[in-house]
Symmetry: C2
Subunit: 334 residues, 2 copies
């Protein structure tokens, strides 16, 4: 019972905050967007923030039900697909200047929703590549990688790790290889690994804000890669992006982002928007049709800019037919 009293002590510790964060994704005009709340709400300060809410077990039976409830209340949005990502609990990340480092435990969620056209209260859709410009390879390798990130990360890798840095199984240079594919291939799923590297190297605004010493080492260049977010919300978003990119391949999640009827072109462009790479058209179509993921509805769409396209719908039956139904697409150039 000593355990119990220690437990109660931990719960009543005024340092702990506990809440839910949601990365709510929608695709518009071939661009993935996430829902961010207006600055100033819920202690987010000057920065874009993911919708945040407390969890009250008295009101809601499960975490997910609680999440759906306050998202609805805060933004008016009904969520479709919802999935828990990770529970974040690092201390010191959220220290605002002049404030003691507090501790926030936040359970991060990924949510997908169709067409983002509704009137929203106190929130708006923001393109996710604004926060991660190095993740969009659809126009080829992003300039920001070649010009800003790679040279700085290489310099950082050559510096010795500081004493207070935790011992890691991989050395810095190897982590660059794995994360950014420097000297190897770029793996579009490793969004979080890349963000963590930039954070540790002091190349994102959050690192400077949290008082990381590495952030001071870049002098007045002040790189500020990508648009920063409140607290550790960009880390949550990175987790969401990586998870979504990975899960697309073995779970039929894209269809949560599309209307009930769609062309194969729209399907492909949505997948490309999420994964940040271009796909081979012919093979994609074959894969998706003969994989039994979709079926023609019989209708056609003439608003395609070319020959009218057949409309398709998602075949819900695949999930009981195949163990891992998804778009097993290789990030193949064109």
């Amino acid at each position: 019972m000593a355990e119990l009293s220690r437990l109660i002590e931990a719960i009543e510790d005024p340092q702990i905050e506990l809440g839910l964060n949601a990365a709510i994704v929608s695709v518009r005009d071939q661009q993935p967007h996430i829902l961010v709340v207006q600055p100033g709400i819920a202690g987010s300060g000057e920065w874009d923030a993911l919708p945040f809410g407390p969890f009250s077990p008295r009101a809601h039976r499960t975490l997910e039900i609680g999440l759906r409830a306050w998202v609805k209340r805060q933004t008016g949005l009904d969520l479709g697909y919802v999935e828990q990502l990770y529970t974040f609990g690092d201390r010191g990340r959220h220290a605002e200047p002049g404030e003691a480092a507090s501790h926030t435990l936040s359970v991060g969620y990924l949510a997908l929703t169709r067409g983002a056209g509704e009137e929203l209260l106190g929130a708006h859709w923001s393109p996710w590549y604004a926060y991660f410009p190095w993740e969009d390879w659809r126009q080829g390798k992003p300039d920001i990688l070649t010009q800003e990130i790679e040279p700085r990360l290489k310099a950082w890798a050559e510096r010795a790790p500081s004493a207070d840095e935790p011992v890691r199984p991989l050395r810095r240079a190897d982590r660059l290889r794995v994360g950014f594919g420097i000297g190897a291939g770029f793996d579009e799923e490793k969004v979080l690994e890349r963000y963590e590297l930039l954070y540790e190297a002091g190349l994102v605004a959050e690192a400077a804000r949290d008082g990381r010493q590495a952030a001071g080492q870049w002098g007045d260049e002040l790189p500020l890669l990508g648009r920063p977010m409140a607290l550790d919300h960009r880390r949550i978003l990175a987790t969401a992006m990586g998870r979504l990119r990975g899960k697309l391949k073995y779970r039929p999640l894209v269809f949560e982002l599309l209307p009930p009827e769609f062309t194969l072109y729209a399907l492909q462009k949505t997948v490309e928007a999420i994964s940040g790479t271009l796909l081979h058209k012919q093979n994609f179509r074959r894969l998706v049709e003969h994989g039994g993921l979709v079926e023609p509805t019989g209708n056609v769409s003439t608003a395609t800019g070319g020959r009218p396209a057949k409309l398709y719908r998602f075949r819900r039956e695949v999930v009981v037919e195949r163990p891992a139904p998804g778009l097993r697409v290789k990030a193949g150039r064109v």
Copy 2:
């Protein structure tokens, strides 16, 4: 700031408990084991319980550091690989008879550790298939599936869902197909889905304990499938098993369960123990060697019961060479 006060209210809600649970896995004698604490500790009652501890942000910088600390203190064990699984927060699952339904938020972890030979304080190793006998297909399809589970689940699927049951995207019969492969193939990764089905159908002791009405429908047969655990710990264990089985295929996790030098036979038997299926020997060896996952050390082991076997070690370099290094093994019969 209305958000803030609601937040504080949620934190100080005496109904919320917050803690960490760990499914600590080790493989001995070709059997996976998990670490369970003696009954009576930490409110576990009569049942086997996963090691549990509170999280104190004052003492520990991150959740994972906190976990390692109290596991060390409670059991004397130093953890190797540690990975967060899921944060569980369903209400009503833990209602002990005569007690009001409280609410436990617990962050579940998966941990892997080598050889389980040490003296442990207040904990012991328990074979994981004792809790999930239907998950071990190494001697062919388990009898308990054919004789106990399948007939009862089929009967359950034919009954109409009760009114208070949440609306689900799949009907019961389809969920059986997906989870247990009734009429299709058995997917060894879907451990949690299967446990949830058995729970909903009232076929595990936890369901009766939680007062699920379905549990009463089986009369005095009292099936009691598998060994029950405290609270929702069997659900956490099911999550851990599914995650480990899945991750084995694209991450080199097995080596965390093996000594630094091992024979290919030992490697195969460890993979088989985890996945619960048998593998084709020749192809396994080819896969593992030419996949660059291991390299010979030059030594041989004569204690194999047959011709002496070469000893191998894990090639750490693969993780920087290949994006998803793992044992992509199909659950092929022998």
